[in-house]
Symmetry: C2
Subunit: 121 residues, 2 copies
DNA sequence: AAACCTAGTATCCAAAAAGAAACCTTAAGC
DNA sequence: GCTTAAGGTTTCTTTTTGGATACTAGGTTT
């Protein structure tokens, strides 16, 4: 019972973590449908391998849809599924909390920065 | 601008990820104040090293408070800070989404299980 | 005087995740 | 018949995480 709540939280987190998923989701949420190469261009620091694996995981979770055009050279389009759209409130909640928390950390540790500023003068 | 929203999401996630943080938070949220050894007993699979490092990170983020009693043998108590309590709605949102998502995955991939069931007969 | 207690550190090692770079496919264009 | 294009996969290396074990401090108990 103790661990059931946790496993749900952990399940939810699995989908978000992996360093690149938030940015990938962000791209797809804001740009709608995107080709593989468009995602690569939008996220220059991610390798093909990583991009592929993260997209596959999101696809497995029914968050992202992968549409293959049978043509050469290949064309593959990625988009957020209808089910994936249901994540919007969650992402917004996380975003809101993150925003507030960055602010909070700033207030907590701003003393350090004041000292640094004073030293550089 | 594209990455600012992401960085907030990522900041929020940093606090939750690290495999053990959700369980640690769960313990502290449900049990209130706990000693180091109590946490160890409640989470037998986590090593001292991990428990220490996760608690220190949570402490840095002002989610967890660490109270040291100057006595021998040492006594240290951990608890959720007042600020940390503000995470409750977020944790509940993540938990709710996770619950729904597990259900969704079940429905999506239950075909496999039906086949397995048929085979074992 | 030896052993025990708590809350850790320190050191070393294994495993997992991530990155870099080369390779693959197949049709069209030069 | 060589190159290009898109969307990957494969292989190898590096980095990051996590775990096991031993050790510490210093007062209390045996």
């Amino acid at each position: 019972m103790a661990d059931e709540n946790c496993s749900r939280v952990e399940t939810a987190l699995e989908i978000l973590v992996g360093k690149w998923k938030p940015v990938i989701l962000y791209q797809l949420f804001t740009n709608g449908t995107m080709r593989f190469s468009e995602l690569q261009r939008a996220l220059p620091d991610i390798t093909k391998k990583m991009l592929t694996s993260q997209l596959r995981e999101l696809e497995y979770h029914d968050i992202v849809h992968r549409k293959i055009y049978m043509q050469i050279p290949p064309k593959v389009e990625y988009s957020i599924t209808e089910y994936g759209m249901k994540m919007t409130p969650l992402l917004e909640a996380i975003n809101a909390w993150g925003t507030m928390h960055i602010q909070h950390l700033n207030e907590l540790y701003s003393e350090d920065r004041k000292l640094e500023d004073a030293e550089t003068k």
